[in-house]
Each structure stands twice: as structure tokens, then as C-alpha cells.
């Protein structure tokens, strides 16, 4: 078994349980994202995998070696696990130059790795700073140095703790691209922690959604986005419109359509969640689904609804439109995200249909 295995890991600080019964498997060359809000235990899991926290319950395996075992108190120290860990604050050593920072984890005589370092420095564009000290670098440059430092010893497993959260938004896309490229080259099993869903979707082969110490859903990005297991996962990807109703005849009825509710008894109260991207102008272009969308689509009928625009703002590539169903001014407006520039005046009546794949029904318990 190669790669990183976390089996049934639980961790508590004092009386409060931070991680409960989490199992994660990351294959070599795969990039798995742990996605979840702050405080859900993602960073703790990472630290347990790295050996910076002593495993309390469960087992951690890297490659073929069990590096940590809860009950039996086995604990391979971090320096012997062959993991690379990239910290949120980068943790560059202020007393070493950039190059010395990166070379920290390699043997002094390892010429081949030194060459790799020199090439990598050029590639990520910090070559001219190789003898400078970290404190003069910008955030993005420090991030790249930290990444190279973690990669230099060629670890089996790479662990990234919110690697892009300290960067300005404009650079993020470019740096993400670069990071992904570097990671894929190394064939390390990579586990990344983030709270940004778009980042997770972009980087990950698989996403593990975590909440309050548990794994809530484990799947490909498309899976998690189009087939969330519950309202929490749905909400992770952005604000959703919400309607409450009761199951009747195996369906939940809303002004925007009837949606199937398999496995739920009649009379059960449910919430129907519409993503802002679910709304389609009736005479707009038809979208195309990726082939591996998977999952079943609940039986439903969507109705063309006439909605009153309350407000419309351009966002560049899309437009943010708010409207109400019945023209009732006091009602909480629904939010739609329409591709392109679409800015009807307030009060306009527009016809919309809803894409059933972007609508999710969950029981309210």
C-alpha cells in the first residue's frame, strides 16, 4: 500500500474532541483536499499525519510503514516520516538565505538535489533572491520558497495547510497553477487543507468535506458539488436560496418546480436549496453537463416561473440578480448568478427556469 493512510483517527485536546473517527486515503500522485470551515479539525489532522501531534486513537501509515498507532503508543517522529509540511504562515527560517532555507532538508553533498533546487528557483521566478533573506520577499514569493523547501527532500507525502490564504486574490490563481504543476511532478501523495471551495475544486482530485471533526462527504469535485450529501456541504460552495416545504406525494413543491424526494415519507418537512447558478433565462443558452456527472437526478418537474427583479449588479464575468417570486416587496429576495452581463431594471418581470441538477432537497431534522 503506497500513499498516506489515516485509519479511524481521533484526537482530542483535553476534554474537547477535535477529530473523531476520520479515515483518509491518499494515493501517490493524488491531491486530496480537506475542505471545511475553521475549527473543524483539518489542521489537527494534518499535524497528526506529520507527527507533530501524537496520535491518540487510530493508525497512520505512510507507504508500507505504520508510522503511528494509537493504542500501542507507536510514534515515528516527524523527521523520520518522509513528509513535507507547508505551513500557513510559511515558517521560513529568518536566519537562512532563500537557498539555504530550501536546502535545509537535504544532505549537504547531494548534488542532484542542489541542481533541482537551482532549476526550481528559476522556474518559480525567485532566482534573483536566492541569497536574500526571507523577510524581504513578498507573500507570494515566500509561499513559493516554502513550497520548494518542503518538496526538496522528495517526500512521499506532502501536507499543505491553507497554502494560499495569505496571498492577495489577484495572484492566487497564478500561484495555484504553479503549485499544482510542481506537486503533480513529484508524485507525492498530497493532502491539502483549505476553506476555499473554489480552490479545492481547482486543485483536488478528491475532496473530503469536514465538519466538527468528521468527514461529511468524500468524492470528486464534481461529485461533491453536484451531489452534496447534506445542506452543509451544499452551503460550502457559496450562498444558496432556501425554501421550506413538506413532502407530498413523494415530491417537494415550490413555486419554482416540484422536486423528487426519494426515501422521505409524506409530511416530512424539507428544505429545498437552489444554487444561484441554478437559474436559467428561458431563452438563454443551454448548458452542457460533463460526462461524469454521475449520481441520479431526482425525478422532478421544473416550472417556468415569472419573477420580479429587485436588483441587478454586474460582477464581470457574471451578474448578480435579486428577485422575488410574487412581487412581494417584504419577502426575502432570491439570488441568482447569471453568466455574462444581464442587468434588468428593478421591477422587470422575467421568466426563469431552474436547473434541477443545481437544486438539492434535504430533510430538516
Amino acid at each position: 500500500m503506497a500513499g498516506l493512510h489515516l485509519n479511524n483517527v481521533s484526537h482530542a485536546f483535553g476534554d474537547s474532541s477535535v477529530v473523531s473517527g476520520v479515515s483518509v486515503f491518499v494515493a501517490p500522485g493524488e491531491l486530496v483536499c480537506l475542505l471545511g470551515p475553521s475549527g473543524c479539525g483539518k489542521t489537527t489532522l494534518l499535524r497528526v499525519a506529520a507527527g507533530l501531534e501524537t496520535l491518540q486513537v487510530g493508525r497512520v501509515t505512510i507507504g508500507d510503514d505504520i508510522v503511528a498507532e494509537g493504542q500501542q503508543m507507536q510514534h515515528t517522529p516527524p523527521e523520520r516520516r518522509g513528509v513535507g509540511l507547508m505551513f500557513q504562515d510559511f515558517a521560513l527560517f529568518p536566519h537562512l538565505s532563500v537557498r539555504d532555507n530550501i536546502a535545509f532538508g537535504i544532505e549537504p553533498g547531494d548534488a542532484e538535489r542542489r541542481r533541482w533546487i537551482d532549476e526550481a528557483l528559476e522556474r518559480v521566478g525567485v532566482d534573483q533572491y536566492r541569497d536574500a533573506y526571507p523577510h524581504i520577499l513578498s507573500g507570494g514569493q515566500q509561499q513559493r520558497v516554502a513550497l520548494l523547501r518542503a518538496l526538496a527532500p522528495r517526500p512521499q507525502v506532502m501536507l499543505l495547510d491553507e497554502p494560499f490564504s495569505g496571498l492577495d486574490v489577484t495572484r492566487r490563481a497564478e500561484i495555484r497553477q504553479q503549485t499544482l504543476g510542481l506537486l503533480k511532478e513529484t508524485e507525492a501523495a498530497t493532502l491539502m487543507v483549505t476553506h476555499d471551495p473554489e480552490e479545492a475544486m481547482f486543485m483536488a482530485d478528491r475532496i473530503l468535506v469536514m465538519a466538527a471533526g468528521h468527514i461529511v462527504q468524500d468524492g470528486s469535485p464534481v461529485d461533491v458539488y453536484f451531489n452534496p450529501t447534506d445542506a452543509f456541504v451544499t452551503r460550502l460552495f457559496g450562498p444558496v436560496n432556501r425554501m421550506e416545504t413538506a413532502v407530498a406525494g413523494g415530491h417537494a413543491s415550490t413555486p419554482l418546480g416540484r422536486f423528487g424526494t426519494p426515501g422521505l415519507a409524506d409530511g416530512r418537512r424539507v428544505e429545498v436549496l437552489f444554487r444561484p447558478e441554478a437559474f436559467r433565462l428561458l431563452d438563454g443558452a443551454v448548458d452542457v453537463l460533463p460526462a461524469s456527472a454521475g449520481g441520479f437526478q431526482p425525478a422532478c418537474e421544473t416550472t417556468a416561473a415569472t419573477l420580479t427583479v429587485v436588483r441587478a449588479r454586474p460582477l464581470g464575468r457574471s451578474s448578480h440578480v435579486e428577485f422575488t417570486v410574487g412581487g412581494n416587496a417584504t419577502e426575502e429576495p432570491l439570488i441568482a448568478r447569471i453568466p455574462g452581463v444581464y442587468l434588468p431594471a428593478p421591477g422587470t418581470l422575467v421568466s426563469f427556469m431552474v436547473d434541477a441538477r443545481q437544486v438539492h432537497v434535504f430533510p430538516m431534522d
Binding site: 499535524r47 506529520a50 507527527g51 507533530l52 501524537t54 491518540q56 505512510i62 507507504g63 510503514d65 505504520i66 508510522v67 493504542q71 500501542q72 503508543m73 507507536q74 510514534h75 515515528t76 517522529p77 516527524p78 523527521e79 523520520r80 516520516r81 518522509g82 513528509v83 513535507g84 509540511l85 505551513f87 500557513q88 504562515d89 510559511f90 515558517a91 521560513l92 527560517f93 529568518p94 536566519h95 535545509f104 532538508g105 537535504i106 544532505e107 547531494d110 533573506y133 526571507p134 523577510h135 515566500q142 523547501r149 518542503a150 527532500p153 522528495r154 517526500p155 512521499q156 501536507l159 507525492a188
Partner: protein
């Protein structure tokens, strides 16, 4: 060194298996060499404290009822008053001057930066002597005033009584403020400039930034400084005795010498220890949960508020006053006496005493820095309350009156000697020479026990510069705890280690009571030589030796100041 050498890339070298016989928390501790080493070292340092406690418990003398009925309230009151006065005084002088000198620019600021540390080189008892000498009835000041105003008798005018609580407070403030100044200045230098700039854009003036931002952020360092000051105040005997202030420590010595009850003295010392422990714990509890790391990793030159006119004059005066009163005047007075009495005071063995002082102090300083580092690092590694507890306890030595501590040192060493003697008798049939008690080893041991708090505190303060994530980075990159210490922590805290060593060096040079009791025969340091004469208030004869103590402290003090500045990344404004 990376452990990844010589194997296919990316493969960890195999298991490191620990037996599971112990419960989780203890088991983790039981086999960690760092933790075991630290516990052993801390135990070694704590042994005399335990001896004091043991002595305190092994008695049936009832001294408490007598004390409570008579002088205990006085002792407690005087001690609390003294501590409050000195605490407040050193806080104001130390922190205020540190801020002025770090953040503002005014004429003389550069020199004052290190000059403000000079009073650290002057032992408190010398300062006390000079103060009384100059300020009492026949001293220069009052004689001059009488000549000026034509007064004849004491009843003609009012002059504050020097030998009083007030006198003791300000003499000890002058002698001890350098601790607070040192640590406050280091903390102010460490502060990320972004935080201070934000404060300014939010509309705060220099003073506003000081009280609102800089001071709270520097709080841990300042508190450590003040707690050192308070501990020194608590265990001081020479100065308070000189000023006829009856503190708790005076009571301890009284019980010891007049009631012939070392056990009683140990009991009272125990009370002091508990009190200090409580203070420290309270402060830590109050501090829990807050973070004092830098939040910004970018450093620039510090901004400075340029002072002009009256403000500049006031700033200069405020900073130069402690230096003049606490160092320049005593040095001049001593130098004057040394010249006047040069024939008597230049003992033929003077160089020998000086060499003794320097050698002992240097050795103890280095040992203290190393031990402080080992303990602080082991604490950092284990993060276990038991380790923290033992180390904290070992640092209490600073609060115990030194002579009582000396007795505490004697006990375990004598036991050791006796054991070795027994061993050689049975094995070789000859008595063993005294190997530890009554040797220089005993003196160094005493210094270590007494000054551990100092070196440990300085190293601890320095380690806050290394974020926990840097530890983690070093570990995951293949450096074990020892490797990380060598390659990451040590380079980063070199300045703090230097500070620790320098602080202990100067304190050892000045140290008196421990040396007196523990030293070998025919061995004198400069301080014990001065004491011969000082104990009869014949300072004049000992003035050259006293001056040497002060002079020996000047260079380390300057080095100290330079170290603090150098350890700040990014430099300071010129």
C-alpha cells in the same frame, strides 16, 4: 543532518517502536531523552530548594506564634510596601526610559541606550552606602545645604531621613530598574513595525501608541523583568539591613541567628517561596490564551518620533537621571575614596581576588546559559505541565534569601561527600578528600541555583522569536530535536543566550552571601573582600575592590545592549 541519506528517495527508514507499558501522558514522557535530561537537570537545581523545604518541615520549634504576636505584621507590611514601591519605581523608570530610547530621537539618545544599563554593574549595597554617605547629616548634600542656608542643628530644617523605607525604595529602584529596562527594550525592538504604524494611522500619538499597543504587546517581557526585580527585593538583606527596614527576609535572618533556628528560617523561606510561586502562577493564568508572536513577518526600520525643544530636554533629563544617580555618582565617590586610600586599599592579593571573581562568574554564566537553554527547549518540546512545573519550581531559587539557599546547597553536597567518603573507606580504606562541599563546585552550584531564573527567563524570552511552526518545519524537514536546536533555534536565539550569560556574569560578580558561605578556605572574590570592610561600614578601605566590581560590569553591560540591538532583524533607525 537529514536522515534521508542513502536510501531511495522518499522512503522513511523504518520504525521507531516504543513499548506501551505506560499510560498515554506518562509514557510519552518516560522515554524522551530531552525530557528526562531536563527533569534531571531541573531536579539537580531544585535539590537545594528541596533541602530548604525539608529543613523547614523537620522541626518542632514554634516560632510562628511568637512572630505573629510581635513582629510578623511589621515584616509583612514593610515587605509589601517595599515591593510595591520598588515594583512601581522600576516599572516607570525601566519601561519609560526603554520606550524613549527606542522610539524617540533626542540628543544623547544613542549613548543613553547602553548607558541606562550601567547601574546594573553596581551592587545594591554599594549604592546604599554611597546614598547614605552622601545624603546623611554629615554627607555632602546636607553639609552643602547647611552652608548655603546657614542652618546649624538638625532641628533647624527638614531633610528626608535616608535610612528609611523611602530611602530603601529608591536605592533599590535605581539598582534594579535595569532588569526591566533591558527586557522592555528588547520587547519594543522586537515589535513588528506594522502594528505600530497601524496604531498611528488610527490616530494615536506617541504616548497613545505606547500605552495602547506597545506596552500591552511587551507585557510578558516587562512582567518577567518586574518579577525578577521583586524576587531580588524579597531576598535582599544587605540593603534593607543598612536602611533599617524590617522586611520578611530580615525576619528570616533574625530567626536564624538570634533564635538559633535554621529550621525556623527555612519555614519562613518556604513562605516566601510559596508567595513567589503564587505570584508567578497568577500572572501566567492571566496571560493564558493570548498570543505574543509577531503577526507580521516583515520588518522595516523602526520609526522614530523626533523630539525637539522642551520635550527633548525632558526626555534627556528623564533618561540621564537614573544613570547619573545610579552609576556615575557612585563610581565617582568610590574612585575618590580609592585614590585617597590607595595605599590601604591595594591589597597584594587584589589581582588574585579579581581573577577569582572573573573566573567564577564567567564559568557560572556559561553554565547557566546552557542549562537555561536545555530547560527552556525541553519545555518547548514536551509542552507537558509536569515539566513546566518542575522547571518553574527550580527557578524559585532567586526568591530564597541567599544565605538560606546556601545552607540548602550545603546539605545535598555534604550528603554526596559523605557517601563518597563512605565508598572510598569501604573500597580503598582511605577517607576521601572533600570533593564537592567547600569547593568551587559548591559555589558554582550555588550560583546556578540562584540565577537559573535569570538565564531561563532570558532564553525563554528569546525562544518566543521562534514560532511553533518553525519547529514543525524543521522537524518535518528531517531535523530531530537536537538538530533543530542546533540549526534553527540556536542561531536565532544566540542573542538571548548571550544576554543570559551576561546577566548571570554581572550578577555573579556582585554576588555576596552565597559566596561567603560556600567558598573554599582562603578564597576571596572581590565581593567578599569588600564585605570584610563593608560589614563594619569601612567602605573606604575596600573602595578599589568595589570599583573593580563596578568596572568589570561595564563591558558586559555594553555588550548586552549591543546584543539586543543586533538581534533585531531589519535594524533600527539611525
Amino acid at each position: 543532518m537529514s536522515v534521508l541519506a542513502g536510501r531511495p528517495p522518499g522512503r522513511p527508514p523504518g520504525r521507531f517502536w516504543r513499548p506501551a507499558a505506560f499510560p498515554l501522558t506518562l509514557g510519552r514522557l518516560a522515554l524522551d531523552p530531552w525530557v528526562l535530561g531536563a527533569l534531571a537537570v531541573a531536579g539537580f537545581v531544585a535539590a537545594p530548594l528541596l533541602a530548604v523545604i525539608w529543613q523547614a518541615l523537620a522541626t518542632s520549634d514554634d516560632i510562628w506564634s511568637h512572630l505573629a504576636a510581635t513582629v510578623l505584621p511589621v515584616y509583612i507590611r514593610e515587605t509589601l510596601l517595599l515591593m510595591t514601591g520598588v515594583g512601581v519605581g522600576t516599572f516607570i523608570v525601566g519601561t519609560g526610559c526603554a520606550w524613549l530610547v527606542t522610539m524617540c530621537r533626542f540628543p544623547g539618545q544613542r549613548v543613553l541606550t547602553w548607558a541606562l544599563l550601567l547601574p546594573f554593574a553596581v551592587p545594591a549595597y554599594l549604592l546604599a552606602f554611597v546614598a547614605t554617605d552622601q545624603l546623611e547629616y554629615a554627607g555632602t548634600v546636607q553639609t552643602g545645604l547647611r552652608a548655603l542656608f546657614g542652618w546649624q542643628r538638625p532641628g533647624d530644617y527638614w531633610f528626608p531621613e535616608i535610612r528609611s523605607l523611602g530611602g530603601a525604595v529608591w536605592v533599590m529602584t535605581l539598582a534594579l530598574y535595569p532588569y526591566v529596562y533591558l527586557l522592555a527594550r528588547a520587547a519594543f525592538l522586537e515589535q513588528s513595525v506594522c502594528v505600530l504604524e497601524v496604531s498611528r494611522t488610527l490616530g494615536k500619538t506617541a504616548w497613545g501608541s505606547f500605552f495602547g499597543v506597545a506596552l500591552p504587546l511587551a507585557r510578558p517581557a516587562i512582567v518577567i523583568g518586574i518579577s525578577l526585580v521583586l524576587m531580588e527585593t524579597l531576598n535582599d538583606f544587605g540593603t534593607v539591613d543598612f536602611f533599617a527596614v524590617e522586611t520578611f527576609t530580615v525576619g528570616i535572618y533574625d530567626v536564624w541567628l538570634n533564635q538559633s533556628s535554621i529550621a525556623g528560617a527555612a519555614q519562613l523561606s518556604l513562605v516566601l517561596m510559596v508567595f513567589v510561586l503564587a505570584l508567578i502562577t497568577a500572572e501566567r493564568l492571566a496571560r493564558r490564551g493570548r498570543r505574543f508572536h509577531h503577526t507580521s513577518s516583515r520588518y522595516q526600520n523602526l520609526p522614530s518620533y523626533r523630539l525637539t525643544g522642551l520635550k527633548a530636554v525632558l526626555a534627556f533629563a528623564a533618561c540621564v537621571l537614573p544613570v547619573v544617580i545610579g552609576f556615575v555618582i557612585p563610581a565617582l565617590v568610590l574612585a575618590g575614596y580609592a585614590i585617597r586610600f590607595h595605599a590601604e586599599t591595594l591589597s597584594p592579593r587584589y589581582l588574585e581576588f579579581a581573577a577569582n571573581s572573573l573566573g567564577l562568574s564567567a564559568f557560572a554564566a556559561i553554565a547557566a546559559a546552557v542549562i537555561g537553554l536545555v530547560l527552556a527547549y525541553a519545555q518547548r518540546l514536551s509542552q507537558h505541565p509536569a515539566v513546566n512545573g518542575v522547571v518553574r519550581f527550580a527557578g524559585i531559587g532567586y526568591a530564597v534569601p541567599a544565605s538560606v539557599l546556601a545552607v540548602g546547597v550545603i546539605l545535598p553536597l555534604s550528603q554526596l561527600d559523605e557517601a563518597m567518603d563512605g565508598a572510598t573507606m569501604t573500597l580503598l580504606g582511605i577517607p576521601a578528600p572533600l570533593l564537592v562541599s567547600g569547593t568551587l563546585a559548591a559555589v558554582v552550584y550555588g550560583y546556578l541555583v540562584r540565577f537559573l531564573a535569570l538565564s531561563h527567563g532570558a532564553v525563554e524570552a528569546g525562544l518566543t522569536k521562534v514560532t511553533p511552526n518553525m519547529d514543525g518545519a524543521a522537524r518535518t524537514l528531517g531535523a530531530g530535536p537536537g538538530g533543530a536546536l542546533k540549526r534553527v533555534h540556536f542561531p536565532l536565539i544566540r542573542g538571548s543566550l548571550m544576554t543570559a550569560a551576561l546577566l548571570v556574569f554581572v550578577d555573579c560578580m556582585k554576588e555576596l552571601p552565597l559566596t561567603l558561605v560556600l567558598r573554599p578556605f582562603d578564597f576571596d572574590t572581590l565581593a567578599t573582600f569588600v564585605y570584610q570592610y563593608a560589614s563594619d561600614e569601612l567602605f573606604e578601605e575596600a573602595s578599589l575592590a568595589a570599583l573593580t566590581i563596578v568596572a568589570a560590569g561595564i563591558l558586559p553591560v555594553i555588550l548586552l545592549s549591543m546584543t539586543i540591538v543586533a538581534s533585531r532583524r531589519g535594524g533600527t533607525a539611525p
